[in-house]
């Protein structure tokens, strides 16, 4: 057991866990944030996507012991005081989800894309989102929602 200090959603958490526990389980079972999902455990489905120092990563493969002093953003930290992230609002407006289980991971991947590229093409979206699997097949709406959210962000001058 070790005490690992990780900044999660702008708050420092001291996580008492084996260093080889994947970040996913530290977030879900120890910190108690369950928006980050377990899907496959081998980094294939993207349901566990979080941001590590702003970059999208698969938390199911990332040992928490390697993250001392680093910053993690989960879906619970995506909205800010001003309200929902434009991606979240668009996801609601366009009724993207079906079962919804993969969607927090989808939104985290999309948020990382838009932070880098404010006017993504279809091909940019397909490349950035290729690591996120949706069993319900909501891909058409995901692509459209990313475009719409990008427009909203650009219009707001963010």
């Amino acid at each position: 057991m070790a005490a690992i200090k990780v900044n999660i959603n702008d708050k420092t958490h001291t996580i008492e866990a084996s260093e080889d526990m994947p970040l996913l389980w530290a977030i879900r079972d120890i910190v108690g944030l369950t928006g980050t999902k377990f899907g496959c455990g081998i980094g294939q489905c993207g349901a566990c996507t979080v941001h590590l120092n702003g970059k999208p990563v698969r938390s199911c493969l990332l040992p928490v012991g390697a993250l001392d002093g680093q910053s993690v953003t989960t879906i619970e930290g995506l909205a800010d005081a001003a309200g929902l992230h434009p991606l979240q609002q668009t996801w609601i407006d366009q009724d993207v989800a079906q079962c919804g289980y993969c969607q927090t991971g989808q939104i985290m991947s999309a948020a990382a894309l838009l932070a880098e590229n404010s006017k993504p093409s279809d091909a940019d979206i397909d490349a950035a989102m290729a690591g996120n699997y949706c069993r319900c097949g909501t891909y058409i709406r995901i692509r459209q929602a990313v475009h719409t959210a990008a427009l909203a962000i650009n219009a707001a001058g963010k």
């Binding site: 084996s18 079972d29 899907g39 989800a97 927090t104 397909d126 949706c134």
Partner: protein, 741 residues
């Protein structure tokens, strides 16, 4: 995306209501219209809310609580059923708050199960009654307060309004008095006319959308209760193996492990098989501890299944089988007639796993009764049927309904998977043994390898064509599985499936092969394989006859008629022809395609839905397949939630394509060979085709859309690939034929 709505008045309005009443009338209920106040259980006014019936409450802040009784798994039922209630009631959708029914009580709430795409159909009348009854009670209250005759009042936007003045009262103002109104006699209730709908047929975002996108979704796997342990359960990799011994002491030394147990099952794969249960302080602790686990299994009675042996058997038995299930007309004469030509093809489809993205899980808290009290079991349960859990709890554990607290959780996909009891029993056993609440989580590997699979199988189809190019005879011979000595529910030949339901001379036969690998319903069971074989073969016959597929298909439908009058589960050839023509027209059927491109058509009827799809597909010289667009026409009667309906069609097409492209489960010596997503590919966003959906909103009773848009996809794509390449596709997945997507 286009959503053209065609109105198709094949039935008069009066008949529509009559038919809806008739077909939905089989629902057995206690009395959901009864209220607490009217029943005398509590006096009105002592509650913070006003209950108008089992499904509807009005809160002091004006919000309207509508319960959803059917479990939500992504099919959108938690939004669509309350939309029906709100419509009849005259509620403004923005005022509506939806919650899952707080308990499982079929006397009070009706079915509380979902499956077979019949949930909308089976609840349509009940939901309308709940809404209409609430409306009449509100109007009754308004009539008293406003001193106006009921006939001069209507409901709209969460208000009762006077028809001839600007006077109105909000539902909130009327709620307390409304709850004291006599409950209307069900037979006196009337329902709104379609042209007056303000909610039904519009697009509403799912009621849980905000929770989903902020990570607050109410999935079973997210359950956290005080004092809870995390659990895993390890079973024999070959189903049916019994446990001889396990190194529990080594496992208990692993970090975070609280205890480990050898659990003896009852041999029923739907209840409890032998295994090792581990409980610990985190999911990872119990997953990690499994790495140290060594179990000796006795596999003498375990599955020895081999997919390759099944394939070899099927190829030997590919002609007419031993069990003729039915015969109509004179098939032999049609086959033997000198001038008729006869062709036949052999189709193959693999086993599939459900792959719900939320792995199987259940949280159970079993509290043994002390000092004379009875035992109590509380579960947090992702399931398609709460009542089925109650039956399991009674039969296996002797627990009556009052000893159970059941939280039915939103499911991260189900597709027919969450209908069995074993993941529930495993959680209960761990809770009983540890004396603590336990959240059991299956790994992805558990979820794939211990599934109730979509069974693989084979179908030989034979057809005879007259010299004029008309269908003269149709024969299907299926080689399917029997499990536990009985043919699977979803194998074989169904007389009511198209085209066996219309062909004049037809025969269906079945040969079964014994397999131990468990099978179960997988989105559009039976239909998802039968549509492939039958609807590909119609195209083969049309081609052999030198006919256009569309024209040949419409000729097979013949005159518009309902094959069994008033039976929503029977095909209606008029509705079938309607969707076939519409999909073909919208896709530009008959247009010239560039080299390597083709259009393929398929129709199917299942789950009371008529669906036609036209796929535009290209295939490169090195066998790279692209589905560019799927044009779909659907007749499921009036659409409840337009957004939800479109979502189900889009998703079913993607799902069908993903399965067709590369998914296959195989078994060797009883062991499932595929373990995780690296061996069972799922199509990603880049492969998603454009999907163009057209609804024919006919005046028949509304029916569900969770499944029926899936079966036509594979034959439409296969038929398009033939146009593009000249080569037939008779085997799924495409990867087995050397194609890539």
């Amino acid at each position: 995306m286009q959503n053209k709505i065609a109105k198709n008045s094949q039935l008069s309005r009066r008949n529509f209501i009559k038919i809806s009443g008739l077909v939905g009338g089989g629902l057995m209920l206690g009395n959901p219209l009864q209220t607490l106040a009217a029943s005398g259980e509590v006096s009105a006014g002592t509650l913070e809310h006003s209950e108008l019936n089992a499904y509807v409450q009005i809160k002091p802040d004006g919000s309207i609580l509508i319960y959803s009784g059917s479990p939500e798994m992504g099919q959108g039922i938690k939004t669509s059923l309350p939309m029906i209630v709100a419509e009849e009631m005259g509620a403004a959708w923005n005022d509506v708050v939806v919650e899952q029914t707080p308990e499982v009580d079929t006397e009070k709430y009706g079915r509380q199960s979902t499956g077979g795409s019949y949930t909308v159909f089976l609840n349509w009348n009940l939901m309308r009654e709940m809404g209409a009854s609430a409306r009449e009670m509100l109007i009754g209250a308004a009539a008293e307060i406003m001193e106006l005759p009921r006939t001069e009042l209507k409901t709209e936007d969460s208000r009762v309004k006077h028809l001839y003045s600007n006077r109105s009262r909000t539902f909130a103002e009327l709620a307390t008095l409304a709850a004291k109104q006599p409950v209307p006699d069900k037979t006196t209730l009337t329902f709104r006319e379609r042209e007056d709908y303000r909610i039904l047929g519009t697009s509403k975002s799912q009621v849980d959308s905000l929770e989903i996108v902020t990570g607050q979704g109410d999935y079973g796997i997210d359950t956290r209760v005080p004092d809870m342990l995390y659990g895993s359960y390890t079973k024999c990799p070959a189903v049916g193996g019994t446990l001889v011994s396990a190194n529990l002491e080594d496992v208990k030394k692993m970090p975070g492990v609280v205890d480990a147990y050898i659990i003896k099952g009852n041999g029923d794969v739907r209840e409890l098989l032998d295994g090792v249960g581990i409980v610990g302080t985190s999911t990872w602790a119990v997953f990690n501890a499994r790495k140290a686990l060594q179990i000796e299994w006795d596999e003498s009675d375990a599955s020895k299944d081999n997919w390759d042996e099944f394939v070899a058997f099927a190829k030997e038995q590919s002609n007419t089988g031993d069990a003729v299930l039915f015969e109509t007309g004179e098939l032999e004469s049609a086959i033997d007639a000198d001038n008729n030509s006869v062709i036949s093809s052999f189709y193959e489809y693999p086993y599939l796993t459900h792959l719900c993205l939320e792995p199987m899980n259940c949280t159970a808290d079993y509290r043994s009764g002390r000092s004379g009290n009875k035992d109590h079991l509380e579960v947090w349960l992702p399931t398609q049927s709460g009542p089925r859990f109650q039956t399991l709890a009674k039969n296996r554990y002797g627990l009556e309904a009052e000893q159970l607290t059941t939280h039915v959780k939103r499911m991260g996909g189900s597709f027919g998977r969450r209908t069995s009891g074993e993941y529930i029993c495993e959680a209960i056993e761990l809770s009983k043994l540890s004396g603590r609440p336990v959240k059991l989580t299956w790994s992805r590997e558990d979820s794939i390898q211990h599934d109730f699979f979509r069974e693989g199988g084979f179908c030989r189809v034979r057809g005879a064509i007259t010299p004029e190019g008309k269908l003269a005879g149709w024969e299907e011979h299926t080689i399917g599985v029997k499990v536990g000595g009985k043919p699977s529910r979803f194998t074989g030949v169904r007389k009511n499936s198209f085209p066996l339901n219309t062909a004049a001379n037809a025969r269906g036969s079945l040969t079964t092969y014994a397999m131990d690998t468990p099978v179960g319903p997988w989105r559009a069971p039976f239909s998802n394989t039968h549509a492939f074989a039958s609807q590909c073969f119609i195209d083969e016959l049309a081609h052999a006859a030198g006919r256009d597929h569309l024209e040949f298909l419409l000729e097979m439908m013949g005159e518009p008629r309902w094959l069994k009058d008033q039976d929503i589960r029977a095909m209606n050839t008029g509705r079938a022809s309607g969707v076939i023509k519409l999909a073909a027209e919208k896709a530009g059927w008959g247009k010239t395609m560039q080299k390597g491109h083709g259009l393929g058509l398929a129709f199917y009827f299942c789950h009371a839905a008529h669906v036609a799809e036209v796929a535009h597909v290209s295939v490169t010289d090195d066998n790279k397949v692209t589905v560019h667009r799927v044009t779909t026409a659907v007749d499921v009667g009036p659409i409840i939630n337009m957004s939800g309906a479109l979502n189900q069609v889009q998703g079913s097409i993607m799902d069908g394509y993903s399965a067709m492209a590369g998914q296959k489960i195989t078994m060797r010596d009883g062991r499932i060979q595929e373990t995780n997503l690296d061996q069972y590919p799922v199509l990603r966003i880049g492969a998603a085709p454009e999907v163009d959906v057209h609804f024919i909103q006919s005046d028949f009773s509304p029916t569900g859309l969770g499944e029926p848009a899936l079966p036509p996809l594979a034959p439409a794509v296969a038929n398009a690939m033939f146009r593009a390449t000249g080569k037939r596709v008779r085997t799924m997945p495409l990867a087995d034929l050397g194609y890539s997507v």
